[in-house]
Symmetry: C2
Subunit: 195 residues, 2 copies
DNA sequence: TTTATAAATTATCTTTTGTTAACGCCTTTA
DNA sequence: TAAAGGCGTTAACAAAAGATAATTTATAAA
């Protein structure tokens, strides 16, 4: 039923979890996979599931006034995808969550997860861990906008997400950095000519 | 000892807290005040206290390579100031936290708070509330950098922080928006001439 | 493999921002 | 009260970024 490989896969979720706690989680979680270009969560969705990405890559985007897709976030394997608008703000999703690669996930309904956590206190530690990781990531991104130039921001991004440039289109990365694809292209050239 | 006024003051901390829970918090918390320009937390500090701002205003800043102060965040009354580097990342503070106005606070050691929370489950709800509010604020700031122009970002800022322009120097606001004070001045002029 | 489509680069031009410095205004300090 | 310092605005110039379109390169479809 629950083999060791799956346990190892989920293990990066939180380091303090015992095998028993992981089994409790896994028992309640469902497996699923999304093909490239498939949506995990649609705009306007009230889908309440929390996804753990076993493998693959998801992008979070919305569509602006001009009808352009703007990518806000790239979420690779071993991270969590959730409808934050619903879970944190009690509103339907303002964003699309799309698989950029074939993506394998565990998922579990947030209310079920809440209940699980309340009955298994050890899971609370893990919940805190996930929340804190989200907070850390978000705060560091704010810092990068305030303290760094776009060029420095790009260099930090490729350092923080090694190999991401080979997996994701530049235009998505440009969006995440808050600049245009054309500008990113120029920045890359500037960096290249420095060396 | 604990009068109603103080309870009302702290009440905005979390809406689900009962009077009893608040009293538990207040009993463990200490009162303090900081004069304008005084530091709540110094760079390099391992101070472990969580401050609740009863009244006043705090700015979080650091000093860049060129020796310039860069303001990352402004924190007004009814919000929480804490050494996030220590609490979330177990490192000494990379930032200064300075009172911009005479500032009244409650504060409580984070470890003591942790212990309190573990012994008073209702407080856990509040803890979650504070964390989620930090996360929401941080994520919305990221969004504003990705989706908005500096001008739009400024307009949203003054909307989200009503009256802030009368309390804080423009150069701090410029930093928070990720632009220079000169650029902010031009943006303000541009907005003014539109109307 | 060829064709069609999309993405990245490059070019051109416009707009905005950064940088530095000067000026006037206001507040603080001596 | 006078002097000093800081702040916001403005100006002038340089650098970077946005917008748009053309070109090349890469990818996907037929």
């Amino acid at each position: 039923m629950v083999d060791l490989n799956r346990l190892k896969q989920i293990y990066k979720f939180g380091k303090e979890l015992s095998l028993k706690d992981i089994q409790v989680l896994l028992k309640a979680a469902k497996n699923s996979s999304f093909n490239k270009k498939e949506l995990l969560i649609n705009e306007g969705s009230k889908r309440n599931d929390v996804f753990y990405i076993k493998s693959g890559l998801v992008r979070c985007f919305n569509i602006n006034d001009k009808g352009e897709e703007i990518t806000l976030k790239l979420i690779p394997e071993h991270q969590v995808v959730a409808n934050v608008d619903l879970i944190l703000f009690s509103q339907s999703s303002r964003f699309f969550y799309e698989a950029l690669e074939n993506t394998e996930v565990f998922f579990i309904d947030y209310d079920v997860l809440q209940d699980l956590v309340s009955r298994h206190p050890k899971l609370e530690t893990n919940r805190k861990y996930v929340l804190q990781r989200l907070l850390k990531e978000s705060m560091e991104r704010v810092e990068s906008f305030v303290l760094l130039t776009p060029e420095e921001r790009y260099l930090r991004f490729v350092k923080d997400y090694p190999g991401i440039t080979n997996r994701v289109q530049d235009k998505y990365i440009a969006n995440v950095l808050g600049i245009t694809p054309v500008s990113l292209s120029r920045i890359r050239k500037r960096i290249a000519t420095k060396n």
